[in-house]
């Protein structure tokens, strides 16, 4: 139980990943598949941020001007520790790529609905064959 509580970020990330994978496999609506893909990507963000995090670690080097309570606590307790900036920076790239994928896929979904009149993958494949 103690390990679950200390690793709760990873556990929640894994649960989100499974939910996203379930939606990708089981849902027949293309739009719902897209939402499931977004949930899956959120789980990846969460696991990466949790990897680089440090308890009471600072985010910026100038804690006096920082709006974050975390920085103020870290400076107050005298712990000069900082979170790893690399996972956070990588996840910024991942978020932008996710936005791009979602924007382009939604335009394709709109076109799909216009041509087939439905978003059900079973009906779309039936129309094709």
């Amino acid at each position: 139980m103690k390990t679950i509580l200390s690793n709760i970020d990873y556990v929640v990330s894994v649960i989100l990943f499974t939910i996203g994978l379930y939606g990708l496999v089981f849902k027949h609506n293309v739009f719902k598949k897209l939402l499931a893909l977004n949930i899956l990507e959120t789980s990846v963000y969460l696991s990466y941020i949790a990897l680089g995090d440090v308890r009471l670690g600072k985010i910026t080097t100038s804690w006096a001007k920082s709006p974050y309570l975390k920085d103020a606590i870290a400076a107050w307790t005298g712990k000069e520790i900082m979170v790893n900036p690399i996972p956070t920076g990588l996840i910024l790239t991942a978020i932008v790529v996710c936005v791009c994928i979602t924007a382009f896929s939604l335009s394709l979904v709109v076109k799909l609905y216009q041509y087939f009149g439905t978003l059900d993958t079973r009906k779309i494949t039936a129309l094709k064959g």
């Binding site: 308890r55 670690g57 910026t60 520790i81 920076g89 932008v96 936005v99 791009c100």
Partner: protein, 266 residues
């Protein structure tokens, strides 16, 4: 039966991954390898590079000294990993072009504001949105300008800017939003992100250094901790990315709302 079996498979997958994840060191433990490390005030760079997590430590130590930005994350994505973010802005620009090239339908002229899906006829919503949108724009500009001082930056502030225009066009009609923020203007501002980034990178070449050598620009005081204009090149890049991303978000929204089936457009 088959569905139950598949559901069971997902459940077993979940249990297995949870068991694996519990083997990891606890979140926030300072002894994990990905921890960026204790930050002693005067440790030479040679000592830092000996450690296993040298890169994160180096970014944290050199954020002020090399880039003039107190926020280590901004310094990392805009200066140390500048090429990454340059092509990231190019990717979001290309995604907008791809989405708008797929959405070719045109909203008809006779569809006036009466048929809009929004809630124009509710007075309270319209009044509140009219009051709240200027503050949203101001907050977006705040996040963009403070990107290199505090957490935040061009992408986040740009999305807030774009969301304010999207909200205005969603509540009032598309035509009203087009009056406030015309798509002709958006078409020019769209490319500002990659363009500004490449322009700031070219200054490094002109002054005799390499591409994207940001620290050579020393026209204003550089590297003062906690001040707003501590790093001019990073601020220029943030401004370009912020306005570019905001206009891209708004333009993609315009593309969606003007989309109509091909057979109905004349």
């Amino acid at each position: 039966m088959r569905k139950i079996l598949m559901f069971l498979m997902f459940f077993i997958f979940l249990l297995l991954t949870i068991v694996v994840v519990l083997q990891l060191p606890p979140v926030g433990d300072p002894h994990v390898p990905s921890y960026a490390g204790y930050l002693p005030p005067d440790v030479p760079v040679e000592e830092i590079t000996k450690q296993s997590n040298a890169v994160g430590l180096y970014y944290n130590r050199g954020a002020i000294k090399n880039c003039g930005s107190p926020s280590a994350i901004t310094a990392m994505i805009l200066d140390y990993r500048g090429y990454d973010t340059l092509y990231e802005t190019t990717v979001i620009f290309l995604a907008m072009i791809a989405a708008l090239s797929v959405l070719v339908g045109k909203r008809k002229k006779e569809e006036d504001t009466e048929t809009w899906i929004g809630v124009t006829r509710y007075t309270i919503v319209g009044t509140v949105i009219k009051k709240i949108v200027p503050f949203m724009v101001m907050y977006g500009l705040y996040v963009i300008f403070h990107g290199e001082v505090s957490p935040g930056g061009g992408f986040q502030g740009g999305v807030i800017l774009g969301a304010s225009f999207v909200l205005y066009a969603l509540i009032f009609s598309y035509e009203e939003g087009e009056k406030k923020m015309p798509s002709d203007t958006l078409r020019i501002v769209n490319a500002l992100g990659p363009f500004m980034y490449a322009l700031v990178g070219l200054i490094g070449i002109v002054t005799g250094y390499t591409f994207l050598a940001n620290k050579v620009i020393k026209t204003i005081p550089h590297g003062i901790e906690g001040t707003l204009f501590s790093s001019l090149p990073l601020l220029l890049i943030e401004l370009g990315i912020g306005f570019g991303v905001g206009s891209i978000i708004t333009h993609i929204f315009y593309g969606y709302v003007t989309e109509r089936p091909l057979d109905t457009q004349k």
